[in-house]
Subunit: 342 residues, 3 copies
């Protein structure tokens, strides 16, 4: 959606330097800038490149302010204390062109499903019985939502408004999604957890009941091919604003707090609790029933033992995870000793 710089600057909270009448149609990188695009820079050096580029205008920090000596900017500037955040918001405003919002004729939508206004449903999508999809949500082609093939009387799926579910996603019956949830391609939501009981006579395993559900709150985002199991008896819950990368595994009964960030390929075993604002690197592994307290940071590949409680806001690393300073001391000691020790 084409916008004037004046209008855009106002909406994203920037100070405008230069002509507000100029219009832009999209954000772009410096390298692919064109005469209709808006770019952003975070330092002096990139500013020079941006000024020399074809871009229509530049989002930048205070450092870019033309000085009183008359060094006038050669392009309109949108000055923000947080240029990257302003840029992210500009993208959302400019990206909001009218898209085709309809149900593709090849989609198979159950009679009892209820769709909100302006819901877009792609080709070949399957929407099961009793599914509810809120206003302006999008379901990408090839998704299977609430499949109940061969299953008696399964619960419907509930998807809030303004959600974006990409292609080939599978959502099991009974899963509940809030508003503005983003799910990338191939993710699986609500699968059965990995819980078995061993029959001590035969040595064989039988699956424990996995009859709970998965609840995903507002503004959660989930990466491609990630898998999240439903609760065994009660629920798995991902709280508001959590961001989850690709190929992440989340086991049954797990509780993820608000604004938690989980990088790719991390795995959480059953009944793990991650409190608010925890940040986890990639390939972290957490044993069942462990708890990570609010604000902790877990370094990439670290491992937390089952039932362990990670306390406090520090940074933790290694397997088993310990405060990063301790771990670095251990590594240094080991390196030194091995060298002289020969």
């Amino acid at each position: 959606m084409k916008q004037t710089l004046r209008s855009l600057a106002e909406k994203i909270g920037c100070r405008l330097i230069g002509s507000g009448a100029i219009k832009v149609t999209a954000v772009s990188s410096l390298r692919s800038a064109n005469k209709d695009s808006l770019v952003f820079v975070e330092n002096e050096e990139h500013l020079k490149t941006a000024l020399a580029s074809a871009a229509a205008a530049i989002i930048a920090g205070e450092f870019a302010m033309p000085d009183s000596a008359g060094k006038a900017a050669r392009k309109p500037l949108l000055i923000s204390p947080h240029p990257r955040l302003a840029f992210a918001r500009a993208e959302r405003l400019l990206g909001g062109a009218e898209s085709h919002r309809a149900v593709h004729p090849s989609a198979i939508v159950a009679a009892s499903a209820r769709l909100g206004k302006k819901v877009a449903i792609g080709a070949g999508v399957i929407v099961g019985e009793r599914t509810k999809i809120g206003d302006e949500s999008t379901i990408g082609s090839g998704c299977v939502i609430g499949d109940a093939t061969g299953v008696p009387a399964a619960d419907g799926v509930v998807i809030g408004s303004h959600c974006s579910i990409d292609a080939n996603v599978t959502i099991y019956p009974g899963t509940i999604l809030g508003n503005r949830v983003v799910v990338q391609a191939g993710a699986v939501l609500g699968s059965a957890g990995f819980g078995y009981v061993k029959d001590s006579e035969t040595g064989r395993y039988e699956r424990s009941p996995q009859i709970g559900r998965l609840v995903i709150e507002d503004d959660v985002e989930i990466g491609a091919n990630s898998t999240i199991d439903r609760g065994a008896l009660d629920e798995t819950r991902i709280r508001r604003g959590a961001k989850i990368d690709n190929l992440v595994h989340i086991g049954h009964n797990v509780q993820i707090g608000e604004n938690v960030v989980i990088a790719a390929q991390t795995g959480l075993s059953g009944s793990v609790i991650i409190e608010d604002n925890v940040i986890m690197g990639g390939q972290v592994g957490i044993g069942d029933h462990a708890r990570v307290e609010a604000g902790a940071m877990l370094g990439g590949q670290c491992g937390i033992l089952p039932k362990k409680v990670v306390r406090g806001k520090g940074v933790f690393w290694g397997t088993p995870a310990r405060p990063v300073k301790e771990y670095l001391k251990e590594l240094a000691f080991l390196s030194r000793s091995a060298k002289k020790g020969r």
Copy 2:
């Protein structure tokens, strides 16, 4: 399927205390119990909660037996030495309601495919030439079974009876599944292995032939988005009763023994042998041609080098994996030394 407590107790091997005429329709958690549901408890404390809940009846251990002093139970009890196992079996019995078992009209089933009795096939499923599917098996919506697009004369897929294949699963041509196999959404069975030959003149890689097959025996369960490669020349084989969690990778020519348990995100390189009853934590990595002997337990994130043989029934941890006692000693030594060593 509604059942009387008397009939249920008999089928799952419990001693019934109280009225056998009462009927239940489902299992449930304590929290979501209602007047038609059966719950289970494993200790005294939960028993109190269960007795106070709306549940119709309770599966419990011997500890729940009303004592002779007339402390009569306020609800019917089903007493079992293994309450969790009894509960799992009750769920299977109660869950067996008549489900809609049919081939969805949008499924595309090749003329040469042969389907057993009461096979359920979801919407948009593709079933390739020469596929065989046994009685009462279920294929979820969006699955692609034995796709031979552009491939000449591919073998059919064989799926046994009472299998449950969830939505969006891909099974490559030539794959063979036994009976009662469970495959969760998004899993890929029978993909080509990661085997290349380097052309020493050009430095480029060419794929070695990956013309073997994948055989999955009875009662195996496979988690969401896991991938299992077919054999290069001969076969990859997952033996009876093995349980595999989400996002697990199993390379070409791997042999997995009976009742092996593999937690999420573990990866097995080509030609690995895992003997019977091995238990593996999450994110374990095993190099090609390694062998893990029967009954070993591998701790989460541990790593086994290529060609290594892990002997005996002990517990192993760390990378490279060693007996857990040794590893814990090493960790303790390191922590101590780094602290005083400064």
Copy 3:
């Protein structure tokens, strides 16, 4: 495609010993050899098995040459300095039977898509607007190529010639693939990267623009259920001949060099650079903005810190990764000390 040994030997660069008129129809393993199949062996012991098998002919090294003493071969031999490579090439030549190459009537191909000659498109495939697919490429059933459900004016996908895209793959709009690219089932190409900006006032995250693209060059192969994100502003690029195993994660803006080999479940964070000919084991993790120089080998499960540069052609192992000799020395020191130290 049935071929005479004479013609085959010529095409794959082998010396033929024995009758060139004999025809073979396929390659096979020793175990599944039959009278029409070609097998290969790399040592004296397997040669005996091969000679005793039903195989029509044998690819072998110089060691298999019949000696002057008249020890004539009992089967035709194709002698090569690289028997495994010759075998791989024989498989490709024999496998090239005429396959059914057509667009399945259930596929939904946008009016503006352009397909080359002999393109095969499976059942239920979705091909979005402005997609281009080159000659003799194959798109497996259930793939979603360039889905633009609810997205305004998305770019088309470009797929070169002789590509092989297996079932249930998702390719996001704007992704570009070269020629002879292989993508196995369930892989996701071009998803949005994991980049967020924190709003310091609310503590919430907002996604940074992820408006770049993904470019995959000729002869790249990608395993099942792997995920590759598009560039944030510019591009993610996988260079010619790179081979990527199953369940691998590649973040936004990553650059992968020519002939790089990446084993299963390895994860590369955003903006990582992997130079030519690097070989990476399974479950390796690399932090954002790290660089691995040409020719390095990274052992399984090793971890590279963000921004780290790994220099030289050596072998690296451990987390944080160090030269393997150093790491082994450290492990030996630790084991020794813990034992005596008690």
